[in-house]
C-alpha cells in the first residue's frame, strides 16, 4: 500500500493531519475581514492568491473555545470539491508520511463534536494523530442565518 503524505497541525493541544494534496498553501494569518450573518465558525474572509476565500475557524467548528491569534497561528488553504477554504489552526509546521497500516478508523469513544470530523486515527511511535475528514469539515447544511 502507498504511504500517504500529510501536513500536521495542532488545535487545542491535539495533533491533526490533512493530506498534503488537499492543502494548496499555508499562510500566516493577517487581516481577516468579518462577514455579517455568517456561520458562527466563520472568522471572515481573507484575500489569498488573488481569491477571496472564507476563513473557517477550526476551533469554533469543533466546539472549542477560540484562541487569540499569535505568531504560530496559521491559515491552511485547502481545496475540496472545487472550493477553496482557509482553515484557521493553532500551528502548522510538520510534514509526515503515514502508512495506511498505522491508521485505524475512529472508534465510538471519540466523543464530542470533533469526532464526526475525524476520518481515522494514526498511531505512530506512541504519537496519536487525528486525520481530518475534510469534506465533513467543509460540509455544513445550515445556510447563513436569516436576517
Amino acid at each position: 500500500m502507498m504511504t500517504d503524505n500529510y501536513i500536521l497541525f495542532t488545535l487545542a493541544g491535539t495533533t491533526y493531519a490533512l493530506r498534503t494534496r488537499d492543502v494548496t498553501h499555508i499562510e500566516m494569518v493577517e487581516q481577516i475581514t468579518s462577514v455579517p450573518n455568517a456561520a458562527h465558525f466563520v472568522d471572515g474572509v481573507v484575500f489569498s492568491r488573488g481569491q477571496v476565500v472564507p476563513a473557517l475557524n477550526l476551533r469554533a467548528r469543533f466546539g472549542f473555545e477560540r484562541a487569540t491569534p499569535d505568531v504560530r497561528t496559521r491559515l491552511l488553504v485547502v481545496q475540496s470539491d472545487g472550493r477553496n477554504v482557509g482553515l484557521v489552526v493553532d500551528s502548522a509546521r510538520e510534514f509526515l508520511a503515514i502508512p495506511p497500516s498505522s491508521v485505524q478508523p475512529p472508534n465510538q469513544a471519540l466523543a464530542g463534536i470533533s469526532g464526526q470530523y475525524i476520518e481515522g486515527i494514526a498511531n505512530l511511535n506512541d504519537r496519536l494523530i487525528l486525520i481530518l475528514d475534510l469534506s465533513a469539515v467543509l460540509n455544513f447544511s445550515q445556510s447563513a442565518p436569516a436576517a
Binding site: 474572509v45 484575500f47 477571496v52 472564507p54 473557517l56 455544513f140 445556510s143 447563513a144
Partner: protein, 67 residues
C-alpha cells in the same frame, strides 16, 4: 444608512464571493485593498429589503452617544 465613519472613495475591482460559507444577504462581493485587507461590497437594495421586517426592532439598535 448610518455608518461609523467614511474612510475614503476609490475605484475597485469587484471580486465575487464564490463560497456559500461567506455568501450572505446584503453583501454583493468583495475587493482587496492591495495590502492584503478585504473590503466587503454591500448590496444596498438587498439591505433595504432586509431592513423592513425588523423595523420594529430599531429601538434595540445601539444609538451613538450624543455627539
Amino acid at each position: 444608512m448610518a455608518v461609523d465613519r467614511i474612510t475614503g472613495q476609490r475605484e475597485i475591482v469587484v471580486r465575487t464571493i464564490a463560497d456559500n460559507m461567506i455568501r450572505v444577504e446584503g453583501v454583493a462581493g468583495a475587493t482587496d485593498l492591495g495590502d492584503g485587507r478585504v473590503v466587503l461590497i454591500l448590496n444596498l437594495p438587498a439591505l433595504a429589503r432586509m431592513a423592513k421586517p425588523v423595523a420594529d426592532d430599531l429601538s434595540t439598535v445601539a444609538r451613538p452617544r450624543s455627539a
